[in-house]
Amino acid sequence: MTGIMQFAASGPRPLWYATRASGTIALLLLTATAVLGIAVGGRYAPQRIARFEISALHRNLSVLTLAFLGLHIVTTIADPLVPVSWWAAAVPFVSSYRAPWLGLATVASDMLLAVAVTSAVRLRLGRRRWKAVHWLAYAAWPVALVHATPGTDARLPLQLGLYTGCLAAVVTVVCWRLYRAGPGRVAARLSAALTALAVPAALGGFLFSGPTHARGGAPATPLTVRYGQSSARAPHGGSP
């Protein structure tokens, strides 16, 4: 309740809300895209839906993901209260604003861009080269999630629930995919499964240790409109 009150009190900042909303939607779409891609890779063959439909959904949702990711980036740059340049959105770790988190965001979106661009020309690229780049999706997804966890909304239980759901979905299908990739290559599959399970463990520990207290980068003065704290640092509105 108090969270909602302060949410309303934080003032009209359309770009800031658009950034957070589009980021959240992009993460959900990215999760769905990854889950569907893993389903294709593991040759998921349900009774009711055709396999080409799963594959088509994977491809179409990836385009929608990039659309929301684009919106997320554009609103971030356009927002005068977030000192992020076009340059910083394209090249990792050159921004001083909340440096580690923004750097991760740039790494993730660059990887996704590479995955998408190579997919558009995959018939010409050939299977091997295309797939070599496509594996990057597995790296981009957790990086995107880590980028999202210190966000303003990550304080809200609903948002945390969303992240947990995304994590559970991806870890589950990855384990299924590794099971389907068998038999054989047991060591490789087991270590991949352990890596997949280490992601939620690491992220959980990271959240408990308080990510927004992380140092490095400029003090994030105007933007830390934190829920459950005094609104003294909120730039607009705040206390009437």
Binding site: V40, G41, R43, A50, R51, F52, S55, R122, R127
Partner: protein, 70 residues
């Protein structure tokens, strides 16, 4: 000049995903293990778009459409 288009499955890369048969049942059937069997390799003009979609859909790019001028 009329072009001939012919379908080809690379049996080594084909994983038996079966997407191609879903999209082009006129020319592609599946054997009992889910691997494609071409009913005919030559693609008539009316099926060309469908053949292209089947080729693009194959997850491992094992289905190819070759073009040769006659």
């Amino acid at each position: 000049m009329p072009k001939r288009h012919s379908l080809r499955v690379d049996p080594i890369s084909c994983d038996g995903h079966g997407l191609c048969a879903e999209l082009l049942p006129e020319l592609i059937g599946l054997d009992e293990w889910g691997y494609p069997v071409l009913r005919a390799t030559e693609v008539p003009g009316t099926l060309l778009d469908h053949a292209r979609r089947a080729v693009a859909a194959c997850p491992v790019l094992a289905l190819r459409l070759d073009r040769a001028s006659r």
